[in-house]
Structures are given as C-alpha cells and as structure tokens.
Amino acid sequence: MDLKHILPKLLQRLLQALLVALLVGTLCFFMTRMLPGDMAYRIAAGRYGYDMVTSAAAQAVRVELGLDRPWPAALGDWWGRLLHLDLGSSQVTAQPVLLEIAQQLGPTVRLSLLAMSLSLLIGPSLGVLAGLKPGGWLDRVTLGLSVSLRALPPFLLGLLLVLLFSVQLGALPAAGHADHGGILLPALTLALGLAATSCRVARDAMVQVRASDYFAFALTKGLTPSQALARHGLRNVAAPVTAYLGVQMVMLVEGVVLVETIFAWPGIGHALVHAIFGRDVPMIQGTALVLGLMFVLFNALVDAACALIDPRRRQ
C-alpha cells in the first residue's frame, strides 16, 4: 500500500489518539476527584504507610500538593503540562510520572508481547487443526478447553500454573522478574486466556475457508490438500485472526492488571491498581493515557497487518 493510502489512515489514528488522550485524561481526573474519602489522607497513607497516617501528615501533603486548589485550575494545569509531554509527578513517590511509566512500560510490553506471541502460537494453530475437521474430537476438545479457560479467573489460572510448573515440577520460577525465566508463567497465564478465544476465531475461519470456492478450486487444480492449506488456507485464515487481535488487546490490558499483581511483575497494570488506591491522580491519568495510546498504536499496527494479508483491505 502506498503513501496516499497510508496518510489518511495515519491522520485518522492521530485524531483517535488525541481523542483518547482528551477523554482518558479528563475522565480519570474527574472520577478521582469525585471519589469519596479525603485525597490528602489517601496520599499520605500511600506515602507513609497506613498507621503512620495522621492529620499532621495529611495536612503536610495537602499543602505540598496544593490539593485544595479549585479543580479547573488543576485540570488546566494538567493539560498545559501534557502539551509539552509532562505528565506531572506521582503524588505518592514524588517521581515524575513519565519516569515511573518508562520504568514500568518495559516489563509490561515484554510481558504482553511474549503473551501475545505465545497465544498466537497456541490458539490459531489449534484452531486451524480443529477447523479442518469440524465436529471432530480436536474440535470438541479445544472448544471445551476454550470455554473452561474463559470461565477461569486469571489469578486462579496463574495459581494453577505455578502449582504445576513451579512447585510440582520445579521447572519454572513462580515469580520475581529478576529470576531468569520469571516471565514465562505470567506470560503463559495471559497467553492461555487469549488463545482460548483466538483458537475459536481461527477454527471458524478455517471452516469457512474450507467451504469456499477458491479452496475447492485449489484442490481441483491439482494441489494436494496440504499444499492448498499452505497456500490458500492459512493466509485467508490469518486475516480474521489478525483483525481479532485488536479486540484481544483489550483483554490483554485487563489481564495484565491482575496477572502482574499475582506474579509480582513490576508493570504498568500493577502500578495502575496502586495509583487508584493511593488516589495518585497524575499516575492514574498517566498510566491510563499510556495504556490508551498503546491500544491505538496497536490497532494501527493490526490494521496495517490486515492490509498486508488481505489486499481487499487496502482499498
């Protein structure tokens, strides 16, 4: 696809990114503002630990952060700083939000990427095999698995995996990202959740492809079934699966929040939960913003990939 096709898409994406930033930032801001409980006390608790929270500490925080400023000033301030990419600094750790996020983003991205690729390794391949024989035993088994995986909360799944691989087999470290291979179990936990759905998508796509005229034609042309699958099946199955990645990104983000906590993975989801508890508005805004933008970026990539796979998408 040449430039004149890409440019409008790019602009559209940029617009979306802008909207996301606007929405996320403002929404988080107001919500955290409106939350019950005294922010000064919350933040103080976040900083000094809960039984060191005294009115004195809270007052100190209030003054330091100017929490009693009127909200328009605070919001305007946030926007102003956002313009030159300054997300402010965390109210709990007093570190610049960008710095904190920069630290946490790395692990999260690594985790997500590994999870994504693992899920793509597991899900679609099984799905294609299942789709080759709809109603066959593999189809039933994968269906059962995907349903049960969807019913299993991530933390429970993670726990089971740890019990199996770490405690019983002693094959993988349970947690602690410093340990070599510590990423595997959290990634697997996420990947299984994702594969559960992508497997079915691939399966259905495969069934459709098998029923298609062009697949039949490939066979009557004289290609062997395996050749037909390799040349005309997979690519056409890949299209819907890739398109589905966009949706999976949402699941991934949600999963990351839980899985990172379970496996003590120092990522952005973990940080988000903390920020919400600590009423750390800049952090919440920052993390949500980054997550949102990541989502936009990822979707843009997915679109590009779809266009690459399916020429019809390029028009």
């Binding site: 630990g49 750790t93 906590t261």
Partner: protein, 540 residues
C-alpha cells in the same frame, strides 16, 4: 492475601524477657504449628532443580513496596535489610543499646538529652560518619512527618562529639524515637542539592548493590565476613516485594525464596510441613481493635459499647480466621506487652444474652424484623475497615454477623486505611476495625498518648475523654524510660479503665510468622521487626 500492598509495618514494641520466654515456651506448643527457632534440625534440603541452588543470594519476600528512598517512606525496608543504622538500637529485651551513639543521659528536669556520638566509622561510600552528617539527618527527619514530632523538640545542636537535644516538655521515650527508621542516618552523599534522597548510603553491615523501585533491591556485605565454622555467612541478599500471600508461599515452596514475611493463616498451614521451609513466629504487640466513636449519639451510651464488646466471639475469630486460639484478646494489651498486660483483669467475655440485656436497658428494643429501635430510630452502624491487612475484612464480616445476632445492623465499608483518620477528623466515623500497633514506638506510652489523649487519636479513642487516663499517661511520659518498674500502678489503672470504658474494643492479638528456607540457619524474628537479621544467617 495482601491485595493492596501499600501495607506498611512498623517496628514492634519491647518484648521483655518474659515475652521471649512466653514465645519460646508453652503457648507455642498450643499454637497450631511448631515454633521453630531455625537453628534446629540440621538436615538441609535440596532447593529444587531451578530454585536457588548454588546461587548464594538470599531472597527475602514481603508485601511491602518501596514508594521512595526517603526514610519517612520506605526507610524501614533499608533498616530491615541492615543497610542503615540509627542513633540507638534496642535488643530483644527492648533495652536500649548503643549504635551510632555510644552513650546518652538526660538532665534532671528531663529537658536536656545528650548523646555521645561514635568517633570512628565510615559510610558505605567511604566518607566518615561525622557528627554534622548525623545532625543533618535528624533535623531533616524532624521536619518531615514521623515520630520525632511526638517529642516537643526545641533544638538539636552539636557539642563537640555530643548531640544535644533540648525539649520544651519532658518526654521519657525520646531515645526510642531515635531508634525509629524515620530517624535513620544516611551519608551526606545520599542527598541532592534540594535535600531529596537520591541514594541509600548507610553504615550497616550490608550496602545497596542495586535498586529497582518499587519492587526490589539487592544488597551485599560491606566488609566480606569470614565464614565461621558453623557455615558460610550470607554475603548477598535481595528483597522482592510480592503482593499476594499465596505467591509468597508458592515462592517458598518452589525454593525461590528463603525468607517470607507476613503470611496469611492458610499459607501458614500450607507451609507447616513443607520440605523446603520451616516456620518461625513471634507474638507482636499489635492488637486488632474496633475503634468506636463514643461521640456518636448511637454509641455515646457505654452500655451499647459494652454490648458490642460482648457480641465479639474473640476465641472463635482467632481459631477460625487466624487459626490460633491463643490470639483471642482478653484485654487491649497482649501478654507480650507484659508491662502493660494485666493478668488479673477480668477477661473480655462473649455473652450474647447479656449484650441483648444491656441494649434493652439502653432503650433499644428489638423490632419484628430483628433490628433494634429506640423512639423510631434504628440501631444501624457502619464499620469501616480496609484491605491493607487481608484478615481485617474477614474479621469485619464476622463481627457484622455477630452484632446482627444482637440486633445491631452493621454496614461494613471496606475502603482505604486513610478513611479512618479522615473519618476521625471529620467526626463522621462510627466504628472502624483496624490493627493498632502499640510497638509503633518501643515505648507504648508515646502511642497511648496519641490514642487516648484529650481529643482522642486517629487510631485510638474517638469522642471519648477520660481525664484520669490523660493524667496518668502524662505522668508516665515525663519519667525517663530507663527505670523499668516505675509507674506500674498507673499502667494497671489505665489498662483497667480502658477495659471497663471500652473506648476501643479489643478483638484479637497478632503473631508474626515467617517462613525460613531450610537452606539457611540462624533465623530468628526481631520482636520489633526492625531487622531481618540477615547478617546472622548462614547457609546450611
């Protein structure tokens, strides 16, 4: 479980010889697991194929995250990993011990405190531990939220190698304040121009090797110590913050962690006969209490408070939720606080019938729907608690049901720990369930002054004032901390009044349990949780 790992622990209170004895001896036999002071059975265990076999890094896991380098924030972690030192130390018996200060004495009027500072000694960066650097740290600590503000300090000055602290009012426990991590001593190079902490350069046996906030940091011995006959001493260690108790347990079971702190009861049971780890435990002066707003019209009547106290099935909660019947509180102060624990006090009882009777007397009649009414008003209370300590919501739920049996409608509000001090200030709080650490400072007097002072305290009484208690506390505060037995009468009286008046209702006491991998020996729990004592640990 520790879903909200912003939980913080504070130092534990003096555990006196008696307490140590108690801990080592009988009650622990009764306790659902065998007390293990880890230098026991020598049979070492292979720590799993992956685990940490061969690796000589000791891994410590706990729920606490480092929210910053500033001593007032995560200073306790660096103290526990023996990176930093304070002016004074306390030993297991709660006696003050010299550290960076070698000696101290107080003037007759109790206003002038002199601390003789050690001459030699260097920080990890090689710079000398100068009196000036010490003074700077203390002044910095005083300016920030922390315990130093409890004492009414007028000035801190240097007289040669002596530190002179002048108070406006006598304050006996002052030396204990100086053992608090928020008063830890860092090298001048730790601070940037604006006085922010940019590095942790202490003077402890271990120095920081690498820091990755908020989740972990690694330390190594400053001066490599020779291996003793007993075995190789731990040279390197790291702390990893692991939010979930299950995960910590699994790490121990998987041979990935050598010390795991703050385990929840189910995990403790899971670890009891683990091939990889053994359990060490100590009773700590932390009591889970119901904080009552005696100023609230519904709770103003002491009979209602007593009724609530009578509803609480302390033994049941201890057995079912903490899995340790010994922890049911018979009074506010646990036995480990033997100077304050008064065995002769009539223990708190559970007596539903009596509770009902009291409520009836207070004019709360049970309606058809089981709830209690007084001239049209229903007896409905809110119980605020938080998830920093996973057991709290569970206990709150239990209490809710127990009070319902007496006809008291309770709404459990699970929020953020800070809602309690905030609610205390706004006066809107009705009841709160919290774990109060009377070892926040080695001498509980300071804490009690906070909690039961004239206008009550964030974590203590609310809308309750008893001039006698205030007076007694004032007397205790002014007398120097040394003379062990002075003021027994006052303490007993205070305990008695609290037992009778119930400004706060004790529910259960607390026991710290730590899982220790069989790869190491020599582990023991610091009753004050000031230190993990990794410098004493040896590989088996």
């Amino acid at each position: 479980m520790d879903p909200h790992p912003i939980a913080r622990r504070r130092r534990r209170l003096l555990a006196l010889p008696a307490a140590a004895a108690v801990m080592a001896a009988t009650p622990l036999a009764a306790a659902p697991w065998r007390s293990a002071h880890a230098h026991d059975d020598g049979h070492a265990h292979a720590a799993g194929p992956l685990g940490l076999v061969g690796s000589d890094v000791l891994t410590v896991v706990g729920p606490w995250e480092m929210t910053g380098l500033d001593p007032s924030r995560s200073g306790y972690m660096f103290a526990r990993m023996e990176v930093v030192q304070t002016l004074l130390e306390v030993d297991d018996d709660g006696q003050l011990r010299p550290a960076l200060a070698t000696a101290w004495h107080v003037s007759a009027d109790g206003l002038q405190w002199r601390f003789a500072l050690r001459g030699e000694g260097r920080y990890h960066d090689g710079s000398a531990i100068t009196s000036a650097s010490i003074l700077a740290c203390l002044q910095r600590a005083q300016a920030r939220p922390g315990v130093l503000q409890l004492a009414d300090i007028a000035t801190m000055t240097l007289l040669g190698r002596e530190l002179l602290i002048t108070l406006r009012r006598p304050f006996g426990p002052l030396p204990y304040l100086l053992t608090h991590y928020s008063a830890q001593i860092l090298a001048p190079a730790s601070f940037d121009a604006r006085g922010n902490v940019v590095a942790i350069i202490g003077s402890g046996p271990f120095r920081i090797k690498s820091l990755s906030l908020p989740q972990q940091f690694e330390v190594e011995r400053h001066q490599a110590a020779p291996d003793t006959a007993a075995g190789r001493l731990v040279q390197r260690a790291r702390y990893i913050s692991v939010a979930r108790a299950e995960t910590r347990t699994l790490l121990v079971q998987g041979g990935q962690a050598d010390l795991a702190f703050s385990l929840d009861p189910p995990s403790i049971r899971a670890l009891q006969d683990s091939p990889r780890a053994q359990l060490v435990s100590a009773m700590l002066p932390r009591t889970t209490i119901i904080k009552l707003n005696a100023g609230d019209p519904l709770l103003a009547d002491v009979r209602v408070r007593q009724a609530i106290a009578l509803c609480v099935e302390r033994q049941g909660i201890a057995r079912a939720l903490l899995r340790d019947p010994g922890l049911g509180a018979t009074q506010l102060f646990p036995p480990s606080l033997s100077r304050w624990h008064d065995p002769r006090l009539a223990p708190l009882r559970t007596d539903l019938r009596q509770a009902r009777r009291l409520l009836d007397q207070a004019g709360w009649r049970q309606g058809a729907d089981g709830r209690r009414y007084r001239d049209g008003q229903v007896l409905a209370l809110s119980l605020t608690t938080f998830v920093d300590r996973p057991e709290l919501p569970l206990i709150a739920t239990a209490l809710q049901e127990e009070m319902r049996q007496a006809g008291i409608t309770v709404r459990v509000v699970i929020g953020n720990s800070s809602d309690i001090p905030a609610g205390h200030r706004s006066g809107l709080l009705q009841m709160a369930l919290a774990a109060r650490n009377y070892g926040n400072l080695p001498d509980p007097v300071a804490s009690l002054l906070q909690d039961f002072g004239p206008e009550g305290g964030d974590w203590g009484a609310m809308g309750w004032h008893n001039s006698e208690v205030t007076g007694l506390l004032a007397q205790l505060a002014t007398r120097p901390a040394q003379d062990a037995d002075g003021g027994r009468i006052q303490r007993a009286r205070i305990a008695a009044i609290l037992q009778e008046q119930l400004p706060v209702i004790p529910v259960v006491w607390y026991r710290q349990t730590c899982a220790v991998s069989r790869r190491v020996q020599g582990a023991s729990i610091d009753p004050f949780e000031r230190s993990y004592r990794i410098s004493r640990l040896q590989w088996t």
